[in-house]
């Protein structure tokens, strides 16, 4: 690695990067409505996107550096255990199908832009709404950090960015530039920028996957050879841990971990502010359900990409930092110009979601912290201004994660975010279906889940790190190793149910529910529901 700069690849990479930058700034003019200074406009693209744009947006969230870098890297490092991402994305669709249309309806009826808006409206509790907002912003940062790690991996392999010995500033300079560009066009164009760039991104990604999945196995001698070589590599005993490096198929001990990671991640995905942003920006309730029938295409891509981890082993790629395995594989296998295309796909594939995520976190801050607690009489123009600034701050927070934390197992960034965001599930999804849970009970359950999850994750050590070294730990009472996020979620739910019984028994005030049952099934054309902009501010 780092054997000089790959000039051709770099030139192609820079070319694509410039194209999307121009697109990003032009996006502000695309399908623009009259009122560009409303948060709906900047943060939700006017809420008018159809099936295809929504599909690209959702795909932009789902398939990111996580897909291209982190998952194959996990496979490269440990084999089967990393493949949990495939069942994870399979389970996402039935979940979306069930609860997102309800969220769409109630949000369009009442002008909700964020999950916190909904929680406050449903439970009449500013405290609970604040908890959801803070969790959303916190959980988004490591997820954005994962995207930046993906970009960094590509830059590293291209030879820009330098090795470990280079001065830190020079080393991180290209990353900082990429970051600056991302920040600038998000700032000026809002959600329209990533929506437009997503087309370029997905086209590039499909192209690269199609080529990689056909070309590399042929070059390596077929899947037989690939899995044979990989199987032998995984059987080798690691001298440090005295265990085999990994396995082609999860053993009995690994199956709980596998299933809980898949289920926990699936439940968590649509709690993230950015997934909700993409959903709410769709033009009708039906768009969402229609999307769930075509989104699985992405899962298929994810599965194929995951197999690249095995191919990296079979191709004899040896890297200390697993994140570099796939970029290195591309560089070794492809002609230089196509390496550039592939790296552009990864780079842009990380930038788009990073932009969407930071916009979503910014919306949360503005609506549910700034407006609710700091400046209730803010004008729409002020709201948009604050959102833009916060979208920058969130990215800086993510950058801090990247520059300070160990990134050899980047998938843990995402799993850490999952532990946190999953704790908002009872309030959000519970609230969509029932008003039975008591608002204070939900807050109590959330607190217990957050504390347990963070504390347990903090205490997980890995060979390279003393804290936050992994995302799985023993499940108390069962004794198997499982995803901490899911355990914390179960605890959260238990506390919520028990406290609800108690609070109902003592007749604690329940808070005002501003939604009606029919709001959850309303669609375009019903009274009070428009496909576009309920103006920000009217929901209060």
């Amino acid at each position: 690695m780092n054997d000089g700069v790959n000039g051709v690849a770099l030139a192609v990479f820079v070319f694509f990067f410039l194209v999307v930058t121009v697109l990003g700034f032009m996006a502000a003019r695309w399908r623009r409505a009259e009122n560009e200074n409303s948060l709906d406009e900047w943060g939700l693209g006017g809420r008018s996107f159809g099936t295809w744009v929504t599909w690209f947006l959702l795909g932009g969230d789902l398939y990111t550096a996580y897909t291209f870098v982190a998952v194959p890297a996990a496979i490269y490092a440990a084999g089967a255990a990393g493949f949990f991402a495939v069942p994870y994305t399979i389970l996402v669709y039935p979940l979306i199908f069930t609860f997102l249309p309800r969220l769409w309806s109630v949000s369009h009826k009442h002008g909700y832009v964020t999950t916190s808006d909904f929680v406050r409206g449903r439970f009449g509790s500013k405290g609970l709404s604040l908890a959801v907002a803070v969790t959303g912003i916190l959980a988004t940062m490591p997820y954005i950090a994962l995207q930046l790690v993906g970009i960094q991996a590509v830059l590293d392999v291209m030879g820009v960015g330098g090795g470990e010995s280079t001065h830190w500033f020079v080393k991180d300079l290209p990353l900082l530039i990429a970051f600056g560009v991302l920040a600038a066009y998000t700032y000026s164009s809002g959600l329209r920028a990533p929506a437009l760039i997503a087309f370029v991104k997905d086209t590039l990604i499909y192209l690269v996957i199609a080529v990689a999945i056909v070309y590399i196995p042929i070059k390596l001698g077929g899947f037989d050879v690939i899995f044979d070589t990989a199987g032998k590599a995984f059987d080798q005993v690691n001298p440090v841990t005295d265990k085999p490096r990994g396995a082609l198929v999860p053993g009995d001990a690994g199956q709980w971990t596998y299933a809980t990671l898949a289920l926990g991640s699936a439940l968590a995905l649509f709690m993230y502010p950015h997934s909700i942003t993409a959903t709410l920006s769709s033009g009708s309730r039906d768009v969402i359900r229609r999307n769930t029938t075509i989104l699985p295409l992405y899962s298929l891509m994810l599965g194929l990409l995951a197999l690249l981890g095995f191919m990296a082993i079979a191709a004899g790629i040896k890297v200390q930092n697993g994140q570099l395995a796939i970029p290195q594989l591309f560089e070794d296998m492809f002609p230089d110009w196509f390496t550039g295309v592939a790296f552009a796909a990864i780079g842009i594939g990380a930038l788009v979601p990073a932009a969407i995520m930071s916009i979503a976190a910014a919306n949360l801050f503005t609506r549910n912290i700034y407006k609710d607690f700091l400046k209730p009489d803010a004008t729409p123009a002020q709201e948009t201004k604050v959102s833009k600034i916060v979208s920058l701050l969130v990215k800086v927070g993510a950058l801090a994660f990247v520059l300070t934390m160990d990134k050899t197992v980047a998938i843990n960034f995402q799993l850490l975010g999952g532990i946190w965001i999953l704790q908002t599930f009872p309030a959000l999804v519970g609230g969509l279906f029932t008003r039975w849970f008591h608002r204070w009970a939900l807050l109590g359950g959330w607190a217990v889940g957050m504390v347990y999850g963070t504390w347990t994750a903090y205490n997980v050590a890995s060979p390279t790190q003393r804290h936050f070294g992994g995302s799985s730990a023993e499940i108390p009472g069962i004794g198997e190793i499982g995803y901490i996020g899911l355990t914390a979620f179960a605890l959260n739910l238990l506390v919520t149910v028990v406290l609800t019984f108690v609070l109902r028994a003592v007749k604690a005030p329940e808070g005002v529910d501003e939604t009606a049952e029919s709001d959850y099934t309303a669609d375009v054309g019903d009274p009070g529901v428009s496909p576009e902009l309920p103006k920000v501010g009217t929901g209060h």
Binding site: A80, F83, V86, P87, T89, I90, L91, Y93, P94, F97, T98, R102, G222, F223, D224, V225, I226, F227, L248, V249, P250, G251, D252, Q255, Y258, A259, A262, L263, R285, R289, R290, T292, T293, P296, L297, S299, L300, G303, L304, L307, F433, E517, S518, Y520, T521, A522, D523, G525, D526
Partner: protein
């Protein structure tokens, strides 16, 4: 499901049971890891564990599509019975 806010029409119907089954099946299949944690039979060199899960991507897509179609048809039937624009 709860879209049945209307009175008189039953909440649980055979069609809805089928929809629910379509949506639950992927959970059962994917979370039951021991049912597919093996290497054989391999397909073009890919161990069973991997191609089986990829196959489920396709299966779950088909199931979701069936659920979507059934849902739509039921909504239309209900709307015409009500004589109103119900969703």
């Amino acid at each position: 499901m709860s879209e049945a806010a209307q009175e008189k029409q039953p909440v649980v119907t055979p069609v809805r049971v089928v929809i629910a089954l379509c949506l639950i099946a992927p959970f059962v299949a994917m979370l039951w890891v021991s049912s597919y944690a093996r290497r054989d039979p391999a397909l073009i060199g890919i161990p069973f564990f991997y191609w089986y899960q990829m196959l489920w991507v396709v299966l779950s897509t088909v199931l979701t599509m069936v659920a979507y179609r059934l849902w739509h048809r039921e909504q239309r039937a209900r709307a015409s019975r009500d004589g109103g624009a119900e969703r």
